[in-house]
């Protein structure tokens, strides 16, 4: 049987201010029926352009310059490249025969329209169904993708849903017409590991049910290893390797794919093994400095809690209280890295905000030792607080949103020093030092952030955080917005800087592989509580808590020998009432931390504690 979609010699060019730029140079690719083809590559490799070209939703500045895309969805082959732009022929195929899901489920759904309206819309335009019929079919689709209450979901708005449910809604929207081909552009990149595993499981199940083909665009080899049948690797607009998954992944022929596999943090790395970035960066790491000797830890968090009050809608209704963080204690030794792990909503970001003193805790205290003995962070004021701000700096997740587009890199780096009264001449000197430290050219200083790639921007963010010579860096998902090919660079840079400058890191992430690579000790958070804490090695050697186990089980491994067990990723592991004994917690129950080996503590429920006593 012929391929479902056969792309031959496809070229796409963009008109830019500096002239024409070819993003795809004659791509030839077959998408077989009923199978999943993973299209792998870093950003800029042309993988998203391919997806947009298939649906003919390329940006206005791009055009297909040659080649054909023969699509045979059962009614004879059609060359998609020849159909008139936005004409009725291509519109009949879009959403009906070929559907698409995107990376960012929040921005891909309109916030002003209900989920039901947006999903049913495809049905209404393609079949002329009326609203009642569309609603009924939409409910079916929502049930199929795992919405607990499809009838209610019809009338909810996207912003009322969690990231995972939003992506499920997108999938329901794409699949309502039972398309022959689903184009999935990084469908799980913006999601937690556990949610990612659930979405991948869902895609696999729906493929079995409907027999659709999936074109999966991703840079995550772990995802590829787990759900793809075939793999095609794109590099700079050219296909460099393709074939069945087992062949390509086990015997990568092209140097690029080999490099890509080397660049991803894995669990089976030897202690001290370094990631090999695809393009090595030339950072000038300063000579090692003697870190001040501290008598105790640099940061000690003692039993902090935080509750948020949601305003009540009705006049006499009680306001709803959400306990975001309950009784969290952490210890970070100087020069070491503490990893704080959990799904979104587990309270890890709230903890980091309280450490930054952006939020006050309701109870508990945070002690920071900058060399002059431990001080309560939330008791600081005036000069002491100003000094604390200097000692603790933050690196943000999104390198696009965290740099002011109207400031040059020099202004961005100099601003913290300006605030803290560093003299002008010293500032200029320090800016040059910083930019070399993170591996960028000095000429970068006079440019604006938009001139840089995501990885380079993240380097600028790190340089800014280092400008005041802090002692503690809080890293909130420092690489989750970045391509795998640059993740390794950033992680290695952070490690080198830590060794040289004696920095302490608090790294907040849902990516266990990243935390595994970076952290010395790890604390796992669920629903505002720490459920397990241990040394890195101990935690990965012997995860005890069911939640930790579920998190670990959900990380897709790029090696074909450790496939995900999709049956285990049901999402029940984040409900304390469903944990097995002795971990089960009743609602509102705190439980107690029990030490099971030196430095390895796990939260047990009250029932189990009583028995033990």
């Amino acid at each position: 049987m012929s391929a479902l979609l056969s792309i031959r010699d496809l070229a796409v060019a963009f008109r830019t201010e500096t002239g024409r730029f070819e993003a795809l140079h004659g791509l030839s690719l077959d998408i077989p029926r009923g199978r999943t083809l993973a299209l792998v590559g870093e950003s800029g490799s042309g993988k998203s352009v391919t997806a947009q070209a298939i649906l003919r939703i390329l940006p206005r500045s791009a055009e297909i310059t040659r080649g054909q895309m023969l699509f045979d969805g059962g009614e004879g082959p059609v060359d998609l490249a020849r159909l008139p732009e936005d004409g009725s022929a291509i519109r009949a195929i879009r959403g009906q025969r070929i559907a698409m899901i995107f990376q960012e489920p929040m921005t891909c759904l309109s916030p002003l329209h209900t989920v039901g309206d947006q999903i049913g819309e495809a049905l209404r335009i393609h079949t002329g169904a009326d609203r009642r019929e569309a609603d009924a079919r939409t409910m079916e689709a929502l049930a199929r993708v795992g919405f607990p209450d499809p009838e209610r979901a019809l009338r909810t708005y996207p912003f009322e849903l969690s990231g995972g449910l939003r992506q499920r809604a997108m999938i329901a929207m794409a699949l309502i017409m039972r398309p022959a081909l689903l184009v999935a552009d990084e469908p799980t990149t913006a999601l937690d590991v556990t949610t990612q595993a659930q979405i991948l499981a869902l895609l696999g199940r729906l493929q079995d049910e409907t027999g659709m083909a999936i074109l999966l665009i991703t840079h995550d080899l772990g995802v590829v290893a787990n759900i793809a049948h075939d793999v095609a690797v794109l590099y700079r607009g050219r296909l460099v390797e393709s074939g069945p998954k087992a062949e390509v992944m086990r015997r990568p022929g092209h140097a690029y794919l080999k490099a890509l596999i080397e660049a991803v943090p894995r669990f089976d790395m030897a202690p001290g093994e370094r990631l090999t970035p695809i393009r090595p960066a030339r950072a000038t790491i300063p000579p090692a400095r003697e870190a001040p000797r501290l008598s105790g830890p640099v940061l000690r968090v003692e039993g902090i809690s935080k509750a948020f009050t949601l305003r009540a809608g009705r006049l006499f209704a009680k306001p709803r209280i959400v306990q975001a963080v309950s009784d969290v204690s952490l210890t970070l030794e100087g020069g070491r890295t503490l990893g704080l792990v959990g799904e979104s909503g587990s309270g890890k970001t709230t903890v980091s905000k309280m450490i930054m003193r952006a939020l006050p805790p309701d109870t508990g205290r945070i002690l920071f030792d900058g060399g002059a003995g431990p001080q309560d962070v939330h008791g600081l004021s005036g000069d002491a607080l100003f000094a604390y701000r200097r000692n603790v700096q933050f690196v943000f997740q999104d390198p696009y949103a965290s740099l002011d587009p109207r400031m040059t890199v020099r202004q961005i780096l100099a601003e913290p020093m300006e605030i803290h009264g560093v003299p002008q001449a010293a500032r200029r000197e320090r800016c040059r030092e910083l930019i070399a430290m993170v591996g960028l050219e000095a000429s970068a200083l006079s440019r604006y952030p938009h001139a840089f790639s995501g990885g380079q921007r993240q380097r600028i963010g790190i340089a800014r955080a280092l400008s005041l010579e802090p002692k503690l860096l809080v890293l909130d998902e420092p690489v989750s917005a970045l391509d795998v090919s640059v993740q390794a660079q950033i992680l290695n840079l952070l490690k080198d800087l830590q060794a040289a400058l004696g920095l302490s890191y608090l790294i907040v992430s849902h990516n266990l592989a990243v935390v595994d690579y970076m952290a010395d000790t790890i604390s796992v958070m669920c629903r505002g509580r720490i459920v397990e804490e241990a040394d890195r090695a101990a935690l990965f050697r012997r995860p005890v808590h069911p939640y930790t186990q579920a998190l670990l089980a959900a990380v897709p491994d790029p090696s074909l020998d450790h496939p995900l067990d999709f049956a285990k990723v049901t999402g029940e592991a984040s409900d304390p009432a469903r944990w097995p004994e002795p971990f089960r917690l009743a609602p509102e129950e705190a439980g107690t931390m029990v030490e099971i080996e030196a430095g390895h503590r796990v939260r047990h429920g009250a029932l189990a504690t009583q028995k033990a006593a």
Binding site: G95, S110, H113
Partner: protein
Amino acid sequence: MIVQVLRRLVTMAVTLLIISALVFFVIKLPPGDYLTNRIMELRATGEASSVAKAELLIRQYGLDRPVWEQYLIWVGLMPGPVGFSGLLQGDWGWSFEYDKPVADVVGDALWLTLLVNVTAVIFVHLVAIPAAIYSATHRHTIGDAVVTVLGYVGLAVPGFLLALIMLFYANRWFGLSIGGLYDASLTNRPWDGEKLRSLAAHLVVPTLVIGLGGTAAMIRRMRANLLDELAKPYTVTARAKGLPPTRALLKYPFRMSLNPFVADIGNLLPHLVSGSVLVSLVLSLPTVGPLLLESLRNQDQFMAGFILMFVAALTLVGMLISDLTLVWLDPRIRMGQR
């Protein structure tokens, strides 16, 4: 929801009270008032009877009392010489300049002002929205350039100049009498068919003149908003679903780009009232704009105070309308209230 509206109404009342105090004291800031000035003038010419009348007025409106008492009497929170009789009781005061109650002077002008401005607002939206959509979807084409240039011209030409030019040509080509909102011969007629027809014909020029600047500004902003929204991923989703381009445009990006304009309704009304003073003068429109100018110049305090309060009330009502519309249009705001 109802609680929200009630809460808003209470805040509005408080705001109005504060504004009334500000308005009153600012008007009273210059030394003297209309009557004392007048009395001095009359004394100089020796018209005893008029002086007596003016002094009667001073007593009647309590102008011989301390300023804060005058204020409370004006608002109607304190009994004046003739008992409680202020804004709260519906007595808008006396216009010394016209020697008539403010209500009689302002009368028709109030609703004609509303009429002219509401017509202008409708005109702005009717012209600006399609022009902006066209210009955003046909970016970098000749059509877009034409709309842009016309927009800049509209922004740059002062309204009164345009008014003068249009008056001249309207008279020359269509024989329309110059100025006013209806033919001068109909001034004292009740509102019958003929007068209404005359009104409609006379509305065209002021609507164009007052609306044009706003239209140009709105086209520019709406185009920029739409271009932002067109680049958003959900617009791509809509296309990927197979929606026809126009429907996709109107349902998603256009709807999103409306928010700032709805939020602006509150500011639009008072801005049009105060911004159209010059145009009203040139076109001799019987609206409150020229009356306000004159009363402020003559320290005709009750008249000026009332008109300012009217504009303030208009602003607050406009804000309320725009907030309620936003709540209705945007579920994010609606849910945020919970």
